[in-house]
């Protein structure tokens, strides 16, 4: 028998539904309230603008003492996101704090789309392309192309 859902998760879910963050939606599965389907819009002004990226989010048993597990399901060309959709973001790893919530984490991910960090890469090839000054327009073009191809509504 599973433990009852902590009040915190119930509250966060309710708040995500009642006052959603603009550009972000998260809805729990019917059969597992710890598993969320997430949609994040690419931030305006970035090379992911106009794309809608879908992610999966899972709250482990000891949430909020450990971070939620998040993965991109949509393919994305980004130096901090690898081929499998795993995300390199400090607050999802060592810098997690129990005072953070699902909505703040999703906002961080949206911000990461707006400001890629090729100095701390997860996808080496993309990061190399991104870092080299003469290749950067090419990389941004590829990111736009991928957004158009894979992250279409």
């Amino acid at each position: 028998m599973t433990a009852p859902l902590p009040k915190r998760i119930i509250k966060e879910t309710e708040r995500l539904q009642s006052e959603p963050v603009p550009g972000i939606s998260a809805s729990p599965h019917d059969d597992n309230a710890r598993y969320f389907d997430v949609m994040v819009e690419g931030p305006g002004g970035s090379c992911y603008e106009g794309g809608v990226f879908s992610l999966e989010l899972f709250l482990p048993d000891d949430y909020p003492m450990c971070p939620p597990r998040i993965r991109f399901l949509t393919r994305i060309y980004h130096p901090n996101i690898d081929r499998l959709g795993r995300i390199c973001l400090d607050v999802l790893k060592n810098n997690w704090s129990p005072a953070l919530q699902i909505r703040t984490i999703l906002l961080s991910i949206q911000a990461l789309l707006g400001a890629p960090n090729p100095d701390d890469p997860l996808n080496e090839a993309v990061a190399k392309q991104w870092k080299a000054r003469e290749n950067q327009p090419e990389a941004i073009k590829t990111a736009r192309e991928w957004t158009r191809l894979y992250a279409n509504k």
């Binding site: 009852p4 902590p6 009040k7 915190r8 509250k11 966060e12 909020p64 003492m65 704090s97 129990p98 005072a99």
Partner: protein, 600 residues
């Protein structure tokens, strides 16, 4: 006193003794009370001494009874705590809305035993912050980074927040945790544990009967022991009287419960369908809700609304349209997929063609290999071996595939020739690598960038057909190839069979000849040995047979010559056999390699 329930009498007595059950956690209260009773007894004893001997006995009896009542109260309270486990205050249902500032950032509930971090002034529940810092344990006490601002902090002995925060959070109204069982009480959060332990009618306590050790709801305790078997009048299930009420409310499928909305009595088992489908008083949304009508009305008045609501009227049509749109979208997706596949095939064909075009010699070789494609080709560009474009005329039109690296050859273009158009003026002059001559007839040419990954717009009808044509050519070529390879295999098999038969015959002949040679050599051997014997016998009478001597040696010499000849013939035969064997081995090897190729 006898009529009142035992818990109320003990409470009355304990409050007489100055005992206040509220405002303290139950455990510590119990300990305090036990510790404080002996001085009371001593005080009353000394008072009794002064009053006199006769009243002393009455006082003692009174005192002993009071103590017994107290002990009873404490033990019953402890027992009720066992029956009603401590409440998880975080799971409570809060009646009053509370400020976000009263919420612990970790558990998102109103603070429980809040502490403040001296370093950054952030507040958390004590349990929450301890749990957060459990991994960074230090012997000097809990320490770590503040979850809100990451300031390094620790939990000192004086970390409790000011009393006002505790009071505010403890004064929030909550529903009794037994509200699902029927308790309607709303109490302050700080008192909810005492409410369940002492007052709540839906909490369990021990049965009042002396010989019964089962537990019973507090509200039923006054009715005496209810732990006797009864059977439900509606469903005939047997159970104890104490649990009959719960059974009626929740489980019994044959009992009628009155619907709160329509006041109609409904069977428990039909409750779901009633609330979902039939209850006339329940509020349901307008049928056109998905299309924008937000009004809700009672089921009984839904028809009235539907008659006036435009959305409700349009709903069937809109639903049908939506369905059709979905279907069409799905179909379109399939078409897109198909188009992608076709594009891929087209590009593959194009790359094959353009690589062949790189080298003019290879194009010449291709002509023989792809008869379908180059059945009626008009090749130009023989000057200097530089091929500008390959023109393939078909019934529908002719088009040119430029090589993908066409930057160096600007004359990459698609020439579209209608059937019956005059070809010679177009192709008579060899095209020089460079800008297209201006005198080329414009209506027949059309620039088309083949390096682009996207096909020409589908609106131009004729350009769909080249694609199809190429694909069909590709297919027919593939068929041709497979037919050819089958024929080749067949031929090869026949040939190897023939070789094998021939071989067999040759070998038989060789062995026959070898046998003959062996017979011959035996005869010769016999002849020579007979000759030798004769020579030995005639050794003594050599003088006598002097004339015969030279003739005998002549015979021996002839015998030796025949033997040498026979052995040469035998060696020659052996050589022939070796050659045949080698030939067979070669055919075998060729068969093997042939097999390997077909496998590849």
């Amino acid at each position: 006193m006898s009529g009142s329930p035992p818990w109320s009498s003990s409470r009355w007595h304990s409050s007489q003794a100055g005992f206040v059950p509220h405002h303290a956690t139950s455990n510590s209260t119990g300990r305090l009370e036990v510790a404080s009773s002996p001085p009371d007894v001593q005080r009353s004893l000394s008072a009794a001494n002064i009053a006199g001997h006769s009243s002393l006995r009455g006082m003692r009896r009174l005192e002993a009874r009071r103590q017994m009542e107290e002990a009873n109260f404490l033990s019953s309270k402890a027992r009720s705590q066992n029956l009603n486990p401590p409440i998880d205050l975080r799971m409570l249902d809060y009646v009053t809305a509370y400020d976000d500032n009263l919420m612990c950032p970790i558990c998102r509930c109103p603070f429980l035993d809040p502490v403040v971090l001296a370093e950054c002034d952030h507040c958390f529940c004590r349990d929450c912050i301890r749990q957060t810092w459990a991994s960074t344990y230090s012997p000097l006490g809990p320490r770590g980074d503040c979850p809100s601002c990451r300031t390094p902090a620790k939990l000192g002995p004086r970390s409790a927040t000011s009393k006002i925060l505790v009071n505010i959070t403890d004064d929030l109204l909550v529903r009794c945790p037994k509200s699902e069982d029927g308790c309607k009480a709303q109490v302050k959060r700080g008192e909810v544990q005492d409410h369940v332990n002492i007052y709540c009618g839906y909490a369990y306590m021990e049965c009042t009967a002396d010989d019964c050790e089962l537990h019973v709801l507090r509200k039923d305790a006054a009715e005496g022991c209810l732990h006797f078997g009864v059977s439900c009048l509606d469903c005939r299930q047997s159970m104890q009287k104490a649990s009959l009420e719960t059974h009626w409310r929740v489980q019994c499928p044959d009992r009628k419960v009155s619907c709160e909305l329509c006041k109609e009595a409904v069977f428990n088992r039909e409750w779901d369908t009633h609330s979902r489908e039939t209850c006339p008083a329940i509020s349901i949304p307008c049928p056109g809700k998905v299309f924008g009508c937000n009004s809700r009305s009672k089921r009984s008045q839904a028809d009235v609304h539907a008659k006036s609501c435009t959305f409700a009227k349009l709903t069937p049509m809109l639903t049908a349209m939506q369905q059709r749109m979905d279907e069409q979208e799905a179909a379109q997706k399939v078409m897109v997929r198909k188009l992608e596949v076709l594009e891929g095939g087209f590009q593959a064909v194009q790359t094959i063609l353009s690589t062949k075009q790189e080298d003019p010699d290879q194009v010449g070789a291709d002509e023989s290999r792809i008869p379908l494609l180059t059945g009626r080709p008009h090749q130009r560009g023989d000057s200097g071996g530089m091929l500008d474009a390959m023109v393939v005329e078909t019934d529908v039109g002719a088009f040119v595939f430029p090589p993908p690296s066409s930057s160096s050859r600007p004359s990459s273009e698609l020439v579209h020739v209608r059937a019956g158009a005059s070809l010679p003026p177009l192709y008579s002059a060899p095209m020089a690598p460079g800008p297209r001559p201006a005198d080329l007839p414009e209506p027949f040419t059309m620039d088309f960038d083949m390096a682009s990954p996207f096909p020409p717009p589908a609106a131009n009808g004729p350009y769909i057909s080249p694609l199809h044509h190429l694909l069909s050519m590709h297919e027919s070529l593939r068929d041709e190839m497979s037919r050819m390879s089958a024929a080749l295999q067949e031929l090869d098999g026949r040939q190897s069979m023939q070789a094998l038969n021939e071989n067999l015959r040759t070998r038989e002949e060789i062995s026959y000849m070898a046998a003959q040679v062996a017979g011959l050599s035996r005869q010769v051997h016999w002849l020579t040995s007979a000759q030798l014997q004769r020579q030995q016998h005639g050794g003594a009478g050599r003088q006598a047979a002097g004339a015969a001597g030279p003739s005998g040696s002549d015979i021996a010499g002839a015998g030796a010559g025949v033997e040498a000849a026979v052995s040469t013939a035998a060696s020659a035969l052996r050589g022939a056999a070796r050659i045949v064997n080698a030939g067979q081995g070669m055919t075998m090897r060729r068969g093997l390699s042939e097999e390997g190729r077909t496998k590849l």
